[in-house]
């Protein structure tokens, strides 16, 4: 085999490697976004380890976009670490997002009322009245009426009391209605 042939044969792999380098080497390998395991909750792991405040900070970050599930986790974690202000804020944001249940409306209103923010609490119950008109019960009305009375806005709760009285003829509702009238 001639010297030229040898040079040619040894050059083939080099050329192939160069071609491969050109094609593959300059490409940045971009792995697909690493999806977290669907059943893994880092915040829950932190709670399991007793790192409650870290868990609260984690869920605060998760809830930046006001996703209802994240806000619920934030509210639950705030309850866990006994941070009433954080829980109030989380539930209020959940109510504002429109995704809160009736119970979450009531809890948010209780916390706000306990903190002295009667008008904000009343606003939340007013929204609950509009959003859950079909499932409101006497305990809700009792709370609504007490809050309306304490906030000097009996007129807010009066229509609901009248409607419930018409619907139920309940003695307790009548008592509330009289108190509001």
């Amino acid at each position: 085999m001639s010297n030229l042939s040898l040079r040619f044969l040894s050059g083939v792999p080099l050329v192939a490697m160069a071609a491969a380098l050109l094609v593959l080497g300059v490409q940045r390998v971009t792995p697909p976004p690493a999806a977290a395991a669907p059943d893994f909750d880092f915040g829950a792991a932190l709670i399991d380890e007793g790192r409650m405040n870290d868990a609260l900070a984690w869920y605060e970050g998760q809830a930046r976009d006001d996703a209802p599930a994240s806000l619920r986790m934030l509210a639950a974690t705030a309850d866990l670490v006994n941070d009433e202000a954080a829980r109030t804020t989380a539930l209020s944001r959940l109510v504002r997002s429109g995704a809160a249940t009736l119970q979450e409306h009531v809890e948010a209103a209780e916390l706000l009322a306990g903190a002295g923010a009667l008008h904000q609490a009343l606003t939340i119950l007013y929204n609950a009245e509009k959003r859950f008109a079909g499932i409101l019960d006497e305990p809700f009305l009792a709370f609504y009426a007490a809050l309306a009375r304490d906030a000097a806005r009996k007129d807010i709760a009066l229509p609901l009391a009248r409607r419930m009285w018409t619907r139920t003829n309940s003695e307790r509702v009548l008592k509330i209605l009289v108190g509001l009238s």
Partner: protein, 531 residues
């Protein structure tokens, strides 16, 4: 006739002597009535709190059946703590509770109110006036009286109180409310969700324990020790403690192998504290906490960032359970070695101790009250510690005690260490001003101390333990001693020790106590012998 009188007098005298010598056995059993699964709140929170007080819980299910307590002399009280309020038969439950009150058994009622038809009757039988509260909101409730000792030991109530029904005492003067809430400014509109009546200690739902919405997390809102002490009228009494020996937390790691064949490989490698040690092997490990390593979780082998996981911040013994797979002995080995490294660098007790034996001793121990401040302990097995909670200025009366090696303060408790070689020690306490013990007394020790013989100038004992023998003794201030240490198979080593103004001698004996050793003190300045 004279003979008859003499005979009767002798009989009377002997009967009197017998009754005088019969000590009163302290009841220690608490009947715990629950309706939940094994992870009920009563089991998760109530049982450890009762055990911390030296009480022995006996658990029954209200939705299955209730125990007959007539004739039981060992019952200190009854705890009814339902999670969901389920009872098998409401009428039978009410009759059972009424029977308890006639037996004068202290009763604590917590958790969900029992679902029985005659709730009002149930509460009246306990000296409580109960009515359903229609107003479920509580934002306008204000605490106007609050027992600061009992409430909020760690977790605090928020501005919104848990919803509660109307609770008032039937007999206000003997009853005491630990918490009185008032609605608005109406002083007639009050409720007392934490209440002690002559027949019951009652905690309304949500007022003794906080529980997360998913039920997984729970925390005391009241001090359980203060609550149960008051509920069961315990007064001052020694509490057997299964978590401590010689004023140190027992360190007892265990290995839970997937199969028995894998265990020896880890056991061989699990040397630490200077000597191979026995390691409990649990083929059926408990679920839940204190699992230090599991298959495929190598990170957990390095577990000492996880104090909560191991219970390092708790009260009882430290007993991490290292679980392992047959194909992953390395993880288990690392976890075991990390456990030993922890034990070597922390003040724990590292000796040949079986936690099971200690716990059996806890359950079997009988305490005879010999007087107001003296108790004899019988049938205690491997249990070596008694604790007086909230001891204040209480101290051991060394002259009236027998078989007591030493005593120490752990938190607010007085912890008394018993001699394992003394079958029926007597512990006496005093509130008189502190005075110097008449001999050397142990404060704390990493090793077991037994067979202690001592007088004013000498002390001799047997030791056993792993790692270095760190221990502290209390002697007369500024006294001088010769310390002689002889391992089971080794030569005697002597040191000279001089106590400072605090009268403490702290020593760290060589790590040669695994197979046992002898230790002696002998006083050298002969202060006790006079000038």
């Amino acid at each position: 006739m004279v003979r008859i009188f003499a005979f009767l007098a002798l009989v009377l005298a002997s009967l009197t002597a017998v009754s005088a010598s019969r000590a009163e056995v302290l009841p220690r059993v608490v009947i715990v009535v629950t309706d939940g699964a094994p992870d009920s709140l009563a089991a998760r929170l109530g049982v450890p709190a009762l055990q911390r007080l030296g009480l022995v819980p006996e658990i029954y299910r209200a939705d299955i059946g209730l125990p007959e307590l007539d004739g039981r002399k060992d019952v200190a009280g009854v705890l009814i703590w339902l999670d969901e309020g389920r009872v098998a038969d409401g009428a039978a439950f009410l009759a059972w509770v009424r029977r308890l009150t006639t037996l004068n058994l202290p009763l604590a009622l917590m958790g969900t109110t029992p679902s029985i038809e005659d709730r009002f009757g149930l509460f009246v039988s306990l000296g409580v006036l109960y009515s359903v509260e229609d107003r479920s909101y509580t934002y306008d409730l204000t605490a106007i009286a609050k027992d600061q000792v009992l409430l909020e030991p760690r977790r605090r109530f928020g501005r919104v109180w848990p919803a509660t029904d109307q609770i008032r005492p039937l007999e206000p003067p003997p009853s005491e409310a630990a918490l009185t809430l008032q609605r608005g400014t109406d002083s007639t509109d009050r409720t007392m969700p934490l209440l002690f009546t002559p027949r019951v200690a009652y905690a309304a739902p949500g007022y003794a324990v906080w529980r997360s919405a998913d039920g997984k997390q729970a925390a005391w809102m009241i001090d359980p020790a203060a609550w149960f002490t008051r509920a069961f009228r315990l007064g001052v009494r020694p509490a057997p403690d299964a978590g401590l020996i010689n004023a140190r937390r027992i360190f007892a790691p265990a290995l839970a192998p997937a199969d028995e064949a894998a265990a020896p490989r880890v056991l061989r490698a699990a040397t630490g504290l200077g000597h191979a040690q026995p390691l409990d092997v649990m083929l059926d490990p408990p679920s839940g906490g204190q699992i230090a390593a599991t298959c495929g979780q190598g990170a957990r082998a390095r577990f000492f960032g996880f104090d909560g996981l191991l219970g390092l911040n708790g009260d009882g013994a430290i007993s991490p359970v290292v679980t392992m797979c047959s194909d992953d002995p390395e993880t288990a080995r690392a976890a075991v070695q990390a456990a030993y490294a922890y034990a070597a660098s922390h003040p724990v007790l590292t000796a040949a101790i079986s936690l099971t034996d200690v716990e059996m001793g806890f359950a079997s121990a009988e305490i005879d009250a010999l007087g107001q401040a003296s108790w004899r302990i019988r049938n205690r097995g491997a249990l070596q510690t008694l604790r007086f909670s909230a001891a204040g200025l209480t101290r051991v009366d060394w002259y009236a005690s027998e078989g007591v090696i030493g005593a120490a303060r752990v938190g607010d408790a007085l912890v008394v260490s018993l001699d394992p070689d003394v079958a029926e020690p007597v512990v006496a306490i005093s509130r008189d001003p502190w005075e110097l013990p008449p001999f050397a007394v142990l404060v704390e020790s990493r090793w077991l101390v037994s067979g202690l013989a001592r007088d004013a100038d000498n002390a001799a004992m047997h030791l056993q333990g792993y790692g270095r023998g760190d221990m502290v003794w209390q002697v007369e201030p500024r006294s001088e001693w010769e310390v002689r240490f002889k391992p089971e198979s080794g030569a005697t080593t002597r040191w000279r020790a001089v106590a400072g103004d605090d009268g403490l001698i702290a020593m760290s004996l060589p790590a040669q106590g695994a197979n046992g050793a002898q230790l002696e003190f002998e006083r050298q300045d002969y202060a006790g012998a006079g000038p």
